[in-house]
């Protein structure tokens, strides 16, 4: 994976780097405005209880393929209300000010944004803790008092693209949809009116250091202390998969849920390719992955923990806890960074794990694939294959497809087949596209029979674009965003529904309501579709050619009109002249 972005895409970088020349500094003897200093009793000062808290956490899990999956989660919770009428939230402590201002200015209820480089290989790696599609994804629930949702959305994407140094400003009405069922709010409040929801992806977005730096800046400790010191971009981007995300939502302040608080989760997921790059040795260490070791927790964090998945390597570690996540009971050894003993005498923590045996992987009960078939540049067909590998349970899944307008869908060709029989979706929501205005939105609820492959196919025609609408390097093809599959998957082990208990962050992102199933979201591969591409020097060629034709025609016409033709004394033909020369030489009279 390269650590630079190719040219061609215009990245908005107005806010990314603010350069200043040396400031002229003035020290002026200030005529101080004096206030009465209240009697301060230093000894008596007891700090008020903070209304915000910060937690950090890392999970390391060796994967079936021998790769290492490291997942960071940082959670800031603040007991405040950004959407309260009248009173503006303006004094920030742990919560980043830039995001808080965005929330209150645009009346955002819930905001989820992710930047991903690489594709998560479900069949080799299992399930990620927080899934994300390749490229950038943004979905936002606005507060129900917002009148101009589209205006807010437009402005919000521009502001976010400034904050994260990403090309989110390319989000416009042609790639924004309002899903009716797939994206329910993850936080408090059961908003169902999807007019206040906006969803957009930019599958072409390339994620790199300049997106990571502003993301790190949102952490209270930055990358100066705590788990975030491990985030060196040259290591993080030298990996098979990199995904960073920001999730903001209102949550319950406590288990009684008497009042709400705002939760900001920053997550970063990396898959390191240590198995192949380490000559087939199965081992990992913090230093090897991040070229750093840990020395302290972030002093502002109320909890700071490392979980190492030791389900396949039981034994060694005394600090063991188990957690049920994604329908699987796993064993973790836990390292608490807020305790001094963790760091030992060297005051530095480096974890190292070597193992021999094969890793067992629980096959994910649901996964999906997608590809384009067909030949030529006129028509094609999109195939989406949904795999239910549960041995005996059928369950419904929600499939969401958002396709750009330049793929003209033939909806009548939509077929859903499982086990060679037609499988009629119980719910279909289709919103046709409008040229240059709106993409296609196709949502359906499909029942997946146990242990089966369900194939969804739909044909499309490729549209001809105007010559200014082509992206740079159009022969590379056009990226079509991933389809999203959301499902409540039946769980083999009982899920933990008790929200009062303290759970590790990685197992508490999606709310679980019942013991027998858990929520799962799967993204398919993005597609790369070739469109008929013209030769871009064509307009000039056409101008030149027509001009030449016009000029030639005009020239002869002009000649005909203006030239005069005179009868000339005809000169002797060539043969006669030649004959005369010869005759002259011979001394014979001329002809």
């Amino acid at each position: 994976m390269s650590s630079f972005k190719p040219g061609g895409i215009a990245y908005s970088a107005q806010n990314c780097a603010v350069m200043r020349t040396a400031n002229p500094i003035t020290i002026v003897s200030l005529s101080l405005v004096n206030f009465d200093y209240s009697n301060e009793d230093r000894k008596a000062f007891t700090p008020p209880p903070p209304n915000d808290q910060f937690q950090e956490e890392m999970v390391i899990r060796p994967l079936y393929s021998g790769d290492i999956y490291a997942s960071f989660q940082f959670r800031t919770q603040w007991d405040t209300d950004f959407l309260h009428d009248g009173k503006k939230v303006s004094h920030y402590r742990l919560f980043p000010k830039s995001l808080g201002q965005v929330l209150s200015k645009f009346s955002v209820r819930e905001l989820h944004i992710s930047f991903t480089q690489g594709y998560w290989r479900t069949m080799q790696w299992g399930q990620p803790f927080i899934p994300s599609p390749p490229g950038a994804e943004l979905w936002v629930w606005f507060h129900h008092t917002v009148t101009d949702v589209d205006g807010n959305w437009k402005e919000l994407t521009n502001v976010l693209s400034g904050i994260f140094c990403a090309s989110l400003n390319f989000i416009d009405s042609t790639n924004t949809v309002e899903p009716s069922a797939s994206f329910k709010p993850l936080g408090l409040g059961n908003a169902t009116d999807h007019r206040f929801l906006r969803y957009a992806t930019l599958p072409r977005e390339i994620v790199c250091t300049e997106n990571l730096t502003p993301w790190k800046k949102l952490l209270p400790c930055g990358s100066k202390a705590g788990l975030a010191v491990l985030m060196k971009s040259e290591k993080l981007f030298h990996s098979s998969f990199h995904s960073q995300a920001v999730h903001i939502r209102p949550v319950c302040k406590d288990w009684q849920c008497t009042s709400t608080a705002w939760e900001l989760r920053q997550t970063l997921n990396v898959v390191f390719d240590l198995y192949t790059s380490g000559q087939g040795k199965k081992e990992w260490s913090l230093f090897k992955m991040f070229s750093r070791t840990l020395t302290e927790a972030c002093p502002l964090a109320s909890s700071s923990k490392i979980y190492v998945d030791v389900t396949d390597n039981p034994g060694v570690n005394p600090l063991i806890s188990t957690a049920v996540v994604l329908g699987d009971r796993r064993t973790y050894s836990v390292y608490d960074l807020t305790k001094k003993e963790t760091f030992g005498q060297l005051r530095s923590l480096n974890l190292l794990l070597r193992w021999k045996g094969e890793n067992d992987m629980l096959r994910p009960p649901l996964h999906a694939e997608r590809y384009v078939s067909g030949f030529g540049l006129q028509k094609g067909e999109i195939h989406t294959c949904l795999y239910n590998s549960h041995p005996y349970r059928a369950y419904p899944v929600l499939l969401l497809d958002s396709l750009p307008w330049y793929l003209r869908l033939y909806v009548h060709t939509l077929t859903v087949t499982s086990k060679t029989r037609e499988n009629k979706p119980s719910y279909i929501h289709y919103q046709p596209s409008k040229d240059r205005l709106r993409p296609h939105l196709l949502e359906m609820l499909v029942q997946l029979p146990p242990h089966s492959v369900t194939e969804v196919t739909v044909q499309f025609e490729r549209a001809l674009l105007k010559w200014t609408e082509y992206t740079p390097d159009p022969n590379h093809g056009f990226y079509i965003g991933s389809s999203v599959i959301s499902a409540l998957v039946p769980s083999i082990v009982a899920m933990d529904t008790n929200s009062t208990r303290d759970r590790p962050l990685f197992s508490s992102f999606f709310p679980t309501k019942e013991e027998s199933s858990y929520f799962m979201r799967v993204y398919t591969e993005p597609l790369l579709v070739n469109l008929p591409t013209p030769d871009f020097s064509m307009p000039y060629n056409v101008i030149c050619l027509t001009c030449t034709v016009v000029a030639v025609g005009y020239g002869s016409f002009y000649n005909l009109l203006t030239r005069t033709f005179q009868v000339d004394e005809p000169s002797a033909p060539l043969a006669k002249r030649l004959a005369n020369i010869i005759r002259r030489l011979r001394g014979v009279p001329l002809l």
């Binding site: 405005v33 301060e40 000062f45 700090p47 904050i163 502002l300 000029a551």
Partner: protein, 564 residues
């Protein structure tokens, strides 16, 4: 012999055809080409803008001079009230002229006012005079009090209150001269008071600095005007607490309460000038860009004035830009040095410690260093909870805010006593001063923006001028005229409002992105497209026209020769 007329006829036909084609090209082709390739340029009031290029500003101040009991002998008292207008003209440079009009009304004090002036202290007198009558924005009232009055302390001749009134102590004008002499004796003092309370010539020149070359303005007023942040419809004020060492210091500041009690009154007072929004944040592990030096003599770390310029850049990267608005930001940073580098003091250029331990950067904000090392002993358990004294901090930040907003620290002439503004943070006459200089500055900026925009549009014919730009330009011109008229009348509040509208409209027009659309359409590409069409068409036409011309000349020469 028979052929000759025929040939003549044919050549004449050819000539006519060539002429007809040339005529068609000129009459139909060229206008058609011109019309289809024309850029849209809406009409702009160029002549009015041209008038704005030479700016004639007229400022009027209403001054009321009130003689209290015992300052005028009875014969003279009968002659007042009377009104007098003085005018002063300055030609600043070829394009800018200034005219000040002081409309002075003289009258004697009413009984109530006399009573008010009998209060024991000047402050109380000021307050009770304010209760009696409220003077209009931009006006000045001067009360003349007798020398015997005990209102003012020894050595003070003029007292400037919190509102728009001043007290002036003079000797009783005895006998001899008529009222004229009295008034002319009084005039220089009154002029000084008005200069302090509304505007002086130097202030106005500094406000006009946009229009003028350097060197015409005195250095101090230029520094003042460069320090003050540019006029804008709104400002964001951000207070940031920098805690580079959260492991040792757990800092608590009651910023919400402090803003409410110290900053908000000032901002409420300034609402006619701009909208302010205040927010705050705490930044951890934010360090200064320079390493302070340890000074053994005082056993403290010190920052020299020279190194302060390098402090801001690294810190600014952490501050974060304001996502929610595009108004200029004023940053106020409170830096608490880490435990190992405490205490930290700032030294000025003469190597003396700055008592406030703070500095500011023009148009950017201020930084204050707040040492906490004496708030705990070395045995304390880390992190130490520390409560920051907001009164101390806000005293410094408020003073810096006043400087940055352009409430100049006026150097009062000798013998003047200025009442400190109190809890509001700003006296009425200070607000007036600010309004005067802001209105003039806005007028100057808007007029230069509009004239340079007009010049630009005039010079570059490629630029498309849309209707909305034309509309913005004409509304800017209209607001500018209205602001000038209001300044002439002396209605300060309206003048400021119009001048702000003018500045907004002019900037909007100037920075409109639609101006750029065709700006960079290069000429060589145009030629590349035109040449294949125009060259083959025009060459025969031009050549045959030349030939016809030659023939005509030839024939005329022949005719002349024949006649001879």
């Amino acid at each position: 012999i028979l052929l000759k007329p025929l040939i003549m006829k044919i050549t004449r036909r050819g000539r006519n055809a060539a002429l007809a084609i040339a005529a068609v090209v000129i009459v139909v082709g060229i206008p058609l080409w011109w019309k289809t390739t024309e850029t849209y340029r809406a009409w702009l009031p160029f002549s009015q803008i041209g008038e704005l290029d030479s700016l004639q500003l007229q400022l009027s101040v209403e001054v009321e001079v009130v003689f209290s009991r015992g300052t005028l002998i009875p014969e003279l008292q009968k002659k007042v009230p009377l009104t007098e207008t003085r005018e002063q003209e300055h030609q600043v440079d070829a394009k800018t002229g200034l005219q000040y009009r002081y409309e002075t009304k003289y009258r004697t004090a009413t009984i109530m006012e006399d009573d008010a002036l009998n209060q024991p202290t000047a402050q109380e007198a000021d307050l009770s005079l304010h209760m009696l009558s409220e003077s209009a924005c931009g006006s000045v009232v001067v009360y003349i009090i007798p020398e015997t009055s005990t209102l003012l302390p020894e050595g003070v001749t003029v007292y400037v209150g919190q509102r728009r009134t001043a007290l002036l102590r003079t000797t009783v004008f005895q006998g001899r001269g008529g009222l004229k002499e009295v008034l002319s004796a009084l005039h220089p003092l009154v002029k000084q008071v008005v200069d302090t309370m509304s505007f002086s010539h130097q202030d106005i020149l500094a406000s006009l600095s946009d229009r003028m070359r350097a060197g015409q303005i005195s250095k101090e007023s230029l520094a003042d005007s460069m320090r003050a942040i540019k006029s804008s419809p709104g400002y964001e004020i951000t207070f940031s607490l920098l805690n580079p060492d959260p492991k040792s210091h757990s800092l608590h500041w009651d910023i919400e309460g402090a803003v409410h009690s110290y900053i908000q009154p000032l901002l409420d007072k300034l609402t006619p000038i701009a909208n302010f929004s205040v927010d705050s944040q705490i930044l951890y592990y934010a360090v200064l860009g320079v390493n302070p030096r340890f000074d053994n003599s005082v056993s403290a770390y010190t920052l020299n004035a020279d190194s302060l310029a390098h402090v801001i850049n690294p810190v600014e990267a952490r501050l974060g830009s304001n996502a929610a608005s595009s108004n200029p930001v004023l940053n106020f940073l409170l830096y608490v040095p880490d435990a190992r580098h405490s205490p930290l003091f700032i030294r000025d250029r003469s190597q003396k410690e700055v008592p406030s331990n703070a500095f500011h950067s023009p148009r950017w904000g201020g930084i204050m260093v707040y040492n906490v090392n004496d708030m705990y002993d070395s045995k304390a358990e880390f992190p130490v909870d520390i409560d920051i004294s907001m009164a101390k901090v806000m005293g410094v930040f408020l003073a810096q805010l006043r400087l940055l907003l352009g409430v100049q620290k006026t150097q009062p002439p000798p013998g003047f006593l200025l009442q400190s503004p109190g809890s509001a943070g700003l006296a009425d006459w200070e607000l007036d001063r600010l309004l005067w200089s802001r209105s003039v500055e806005n007028v100057a900026t808007a007029s230069t923006t509009i004239t340079s925009l007009a010049q630009l549009l005039d010079q570059i014919s490629n630029i498309v001028i849309n209707d909305n730009i034309a509309q913005q330009v004409s509304s800017a011109v209209m607001s500018l005229h209205a602001a000038l008229a209001e300044l002439e009348v002396g209605d300060l509040a309206l003048a400021l409002q119009y001048s702000q509208e003018a500045i907004l409209a002019s900037e909007k027009a100037f920075f409109d992105p639609s101006l750029l659309h065709l700006l960079y359409f290069p000429d060589d590409q145009k030629f590349a497209i035109y040449i294949p069409l125009f060259l083959p068409m025009c060459v025969p036409i031009v050549l045959s026209l030349l030939k016809i011309g030659n023939e005509v000349r030839q024939r005329r020469a022949d005719k002349l020769a024949k006649r001879d």
